[in-house]
């Protein structure tokens, strides 16, 4: 097979990366193994589990269902970009910690990215709305209840922090 290469330029967590990639390279592999942002996890590589969810131009997107070349000229945020460096946690991460919304933590980055976009668009969700939005991310450890509690707590705190 002829390996065709493409020069791409993409902004990830605010930093510009210009790289040459093979056309078949998955975006998830590009993020994890080329950019070494291993916080984005891969659970199924067929778009069901949601572990690899990133923000692609602000929208939650499964990075295992895209090629790296498709990210050319686009903006990506991964779990590493949720806090601006240091050891701090943002309100959603803090609520996940306090409510024990994670166990093995493998699905957690994808859930954080999905719920970040959800809370942006829905600052005052009820439990049913949270469960609906969460239903595209599989978690095998928690039974979801503590994640739902965490998202509701984060929403409450984020509302309180708004001017």
């Amino acid at each position: 097979m002829d390996i065709d290469q493409h020069r791409i330029s993409t902004a990830v967590n605010g930093a510009r990366h210009t790289k040459t990639v093979e056309s078949r390279l998955l975006l998830s592999d590009f993020i994890r193994h080329e950019l070494l942002l291993a916080g984005t996890h891969v659970g199924c590589e067929h778009g069901v589990c949601g572990a690899c969810t990133i923000l692609f131009d602000g929208l939650p997107t499964r990075s295992c269902l895209m090629f790296a070349v498709q990210a050319d000229g686009h903006e990506i945020v991964t779990v590493e970009g949720l806090t601006s460096g240091g050891d701090g946690l943002n309100p959603l991460q803090q609520a996940m910690h306090e409510k024990h919304g994670l166990q093995c933590g493998y699905c957690t980055p994808g859930i954080l990215m999905t719920m970040t976009a959800f809370l942006d668009a829905n600052p005052s969700p009820d439990e049913a709305a949270v469960r609906e939005a969460l239903s595209g991310n599989l978690c095998r450890c928690t039974g979801y209840q503590h994640i739902v509690d965490a998202v509701l707590l984060a929403a409450e705190r984020m509302r309180g922090a708004r001017p």
Partner: protein, 782 residues
């Protein structure tokens, strides 16, 4: 000693890393010059291997090596037996374990035939298509009963039949009990448990360092110490030359403890041969055949009772699907056999199982580990008996509970840990009462349900009991050490897959040593940090390792007090250990940091007294005399749509007794997650194979894991009956949530749809909307 942390619902120490993407999982390991492996897996379930030719693959650009079984030389050998069969009279056990690559025959779809190692995973997978394979297909053994019939194809040609094992255990005289009985209920039950499907699949990275003669393997295993030991033996290395690291592991639930998976042998072997690091990460499609399942059993069971619902005896004969090989011994079917007895007085028991080789992937324990199968049989027999004898479902259970004054209660059969199945402690009736009250049992049955039914609603209630043998031996160990910076380190040999070990072990230590729980650093699953231990299984981490941690922390506390008393020249009784300092009661300002004491305990110059050990450190081991038995009750109210058979869980209650609770928040998470997996098992997840042994559900789009819309909010309550078998009084809790959900679903759905009245009984798990529709249609047709 104050207990600021032990028993408190504190958030976890490990969360920070996991929430910010800084936790190391196996696939995050990146090494210079690392190669990538892909495995060619058998496309058929049963065949003789005529040829596997990798020569074309080796021609491909980027391919570094490709191996078949013949290339492995003396390294090719069937793997070890992980769990020997218990000492039971008359036991038959035919051990047949898998080899790293199939040589003469393939015995299940997915069995590895060859491994390709290339500069990228993409190229390694390309090269799999270059391999020429010639297989002479044989009839596949899939059905358990046909597997034992005359003329069946043989999974292992050197055995006279497909029998893997045969075990009979008895207690009392069942035949006599049956003769005395007013009623005998006899049914056939099918119970299948699926695949644990953790969100992280398996993976291995192996690195051979020539300069230090040291092999390092990062492995998604639940038992790093035993993998290290076995690997050293098979590679002809000493244990100290092999380091196995189970870093953060993305869920396990049992199957990550199989030994050996082929990749755990092939990768280190290849890394040594090629002198380059090699990585293999299982993809989700591979996972469905390359990681072990639990799957099914068929039970022909009967229960003998008096007219007032007292159990006189139970007889059970069952078949157990062990898959193509049986490296995990008899753990799963023994658990089914033992756990069937539940919290009940069963004076006579006669249980026989035959484990059957099939041309399907290997069966090993998955959360519950066969306990589900037994609990389903017993709970369903009681439901049917209650219906026939016109006794309330909760009442028939109450009448048969082992009374609180009967512990320790000897069941007179042998459990999976080779010890007699004896329940150490328990108090079952209050648990049942609490659950009945929490679910509103009387109110629902007498008031709510009739009203809703009159309005055309299909609502039902279920209530089930279970016990769980947990915290089995042999032992675990831990080392606790005060560091010069005042932080306390804890190392233990078990692996961790999300259970909160970094927090609960820290809680135990923080109280003993008088530091903040955040100042305790726990390391698990790195054989260079702690090189003894068995692993994380059988709900034993908190029980066995937790008590080892506690004993080590106690010794460190004594060392701290002794040294501080010498330092202050005062009595130990006058010292206070808190907030990382030792101070003297009533003398403000006189305090010494723990870190400073740690440095004093390791002097650079001068003489020490004979027998002095350096540091504020202790290593202790704990091995319980036997497993400790946890128990609980689940109750549920459901509504079923009579057209689609979809169900909505209106209320779900768990009341549970796992002895002393270290962290209620983490315990709740364990229960929630267990119930979610139980719900998946009961109503969503099914591994489907066709009659040639092909899996038809090898994706998460076909094998349905429950989502946030399927798992309800749960109400939890606890009682605490301490275990007398360990100093902390802990019982295991990891598997409890998952165990009784199958019979709970069957009972509640039967009730909701009034199935007994229609002559329909739910005698199988998993159920599903489709299966309920079929059963209803069959009943309507007959």
């Amino acid at each position: 000693m104050t207990t600021r942390y032990f028993g408190a619902p504190i958030p976890r120490n490990e969360d920070q890393r996991l929430l910010t993407g800084r936790a190391l999982f196996v696939d995050d390991v990146e090494l210079p010059g690392m190669l990538h492996a892909a495995l060619l897996r058998s496309p058929v379930a049963h065949a003789r291997i005529r040829k596997v030719d990798v020569s074309a693959a080796l021609q491909r650009n980027g391919v570094v090596a490709a191996y078949t079984a013949n290339d492995l030389g003396a390294f090719w050998q069937p793997g070890p037996l992980l769990v020997p069969p218990p000492p039971i009279d008359g036991i038959v056990f035919n051990l047949r374990t898998n080899a790293p690559l199939a040589k003469d025959k393939v015995r299940y779809v997915g069995e590895p035939l060859a491994i390709v190692i290339a500069t990228s995973r993409y190229i390694a997978e390309d090269a799999l298509a270059d391999i020429v394979v010639d297989l002479a297909e044989l009839p596949a053994v899939v059905d358990l009963e046909r597997a034992l019939a005359g003329g069946a194809s043989l999974v292992h040609d050197d055995l006279p039949s497909n029998i893997s094992a045969y075990v009979r255990q008895t207690k009392g005289d069942y035949a006599a009990a049956a003769r005395r009985a007013d009623r005998i209920v006899r049914r056939r039950f099918h119970y299948e448990h699926g695949i644990s499907s953790p969100m992280e699949t398996r993976g291995v990275v192996a690195q051979w360092d020539e300069r230090s003669d040291q092999l390092t393997m990062w492995d998604t295993t639940q038992a790093p110490v035993f993998v290290r030991n076995g690997l050293a033996a098979m590679l002809n290395l000493s244990e100290r030359q092999v380091r196995v690291i189970a870093p953060f592991v993305g869920g396990g639930f049992g199957p990550k403890i199989m030994m050996f998976y082929p990749e755990e042998l092939l990768l280190p072997w290849a890394a040594m041969k090629l002198r380059r690091p090699v990585k293999w990460i299982e993809d989700r499609l591979e996972h469905f055949v390359a990681t072990t399942h639990e799957r099914g059993q068929i039970h022909d069971a009967e229960i003998a009772l008096t007219n007032d619902g007292r159990i006189l005896g139970v007889k059970d004969v069952f078949l157990h699907d062990t898959g193509a090989y049986d490296p995990y011994g008899l753990t799963v079917p023994i658990n089914s056999q033992c756990t069937l007895l539940g919290p009940y007085v069963v004076p006579a028991y006669d249980s026989t199982f035959t484990a059957v080789f099939t041309n399907l992937p290997i069966v090993t324990p998955y959360r519950g580990a066969g306990r589900q199968h037994g609990v389903f049989v017993m709970e369903r027999l009681l439901d049917i008996a209650a219906h026939e004898l016109r006794i309330d479902r909760a009442e028939i259970r109450r009448r048969n509970l082992i009374p609180a004054n009967a512990f320790p209660y000897d069941n007179k059969i042998i459990y999976q840990d080779f010890a007699p199945l004896s329940y150490d402690s328990g108090n079952y009736e209050p648990i049942l009462d609490k659950a009945l009250e929490a679910i509103g049992y009387r109110h629902f049955i007498e008031d709510e349900q009739p009203k809703l039914r009159a309005a055309g609603r299909n609502v039902g209630i279920g209530i089930v009991n279970y016990v769980e043998g947990t915290g089995i031996g042999p032992y675990e160990g831990a080392r606790v050490q005060v560091q010069a910076n005042g932080r306390v380190s804890v190392a233990t040999g078990i692996g961790t897959q999300g259970q909160g070990h970094f927090t609960v072990f820290a809680q135990i230590v923080a109280d003993q040593v008088g530091v903040d729980v955040k100042d305790v650093d726990v390391v698990t699953g790195d054989t260079d940090r702690f090189h003894w231990g068995a692993g994380t299984f059988a709900s034993r981490g908190a029980v066995v390792a937790g008590n080892a941690v506690s004993e080590a922390a106690k010794v460190v506390r004594q060392k701290i007090l002794k040294l501080a008393s010498e330092y202050f020249e005062c009595a130990e009784e006058d010292l206070v250990l808190e907030a990382g300092h030792v101070s003297i009661v009533g003398v403000p300002g006189r305090a010494v940091r723990l870190g400073e004491l740690a440095m004093k305990a390791n002097p650079m110059r001068g003489a020490v007294k004979p027998g002095t050990e350096p540091g504020l450190e202790s290593t202790q081991y704990f091995g319980p005399p036997g497993g400790t038995t946890a128990s609980g009750v689940h109750a549920m109210i459901v509504e079923v749509d009579p057209d689609t058979f979809m169900l909505e869980i209106k209320k779900y209650v768990v009341v549970h007794d796992c002895g002393t609770v270290i962290n209620p928040l983490i315990l709740a998470g364990q229960i929630h997650g267990g119930v979610a997996q139980g719900i998946g098992n009961a109503f969503f997840e099914k591994l489907i194979f066709d009659d040639t042994g092909q899996i038809l559900t090898a994706s998460l789009a076909d094998y349905l894991l429950p989502t946030s819309l399927d798992v309800p909010r749960m109400e939890l309550d606890h009682i605490a009956t301490l275990s007398p078998l360990n100093p902390l009084g802990i019982k295991g809790a990891g598997e409890a949530g998952a165990i009784p959900v199958g019979p709970l679903f069957a009972q509640a759905i039967e009730d909701a749809l009034e199935l007994p009245r229609k002559g329909i009984e739910l005698l199988e798990i998993p159920l599903s909307p489709g299966r309920l529709w079929e059963l209803a249609a069959m009943a309507a047709g007959s």
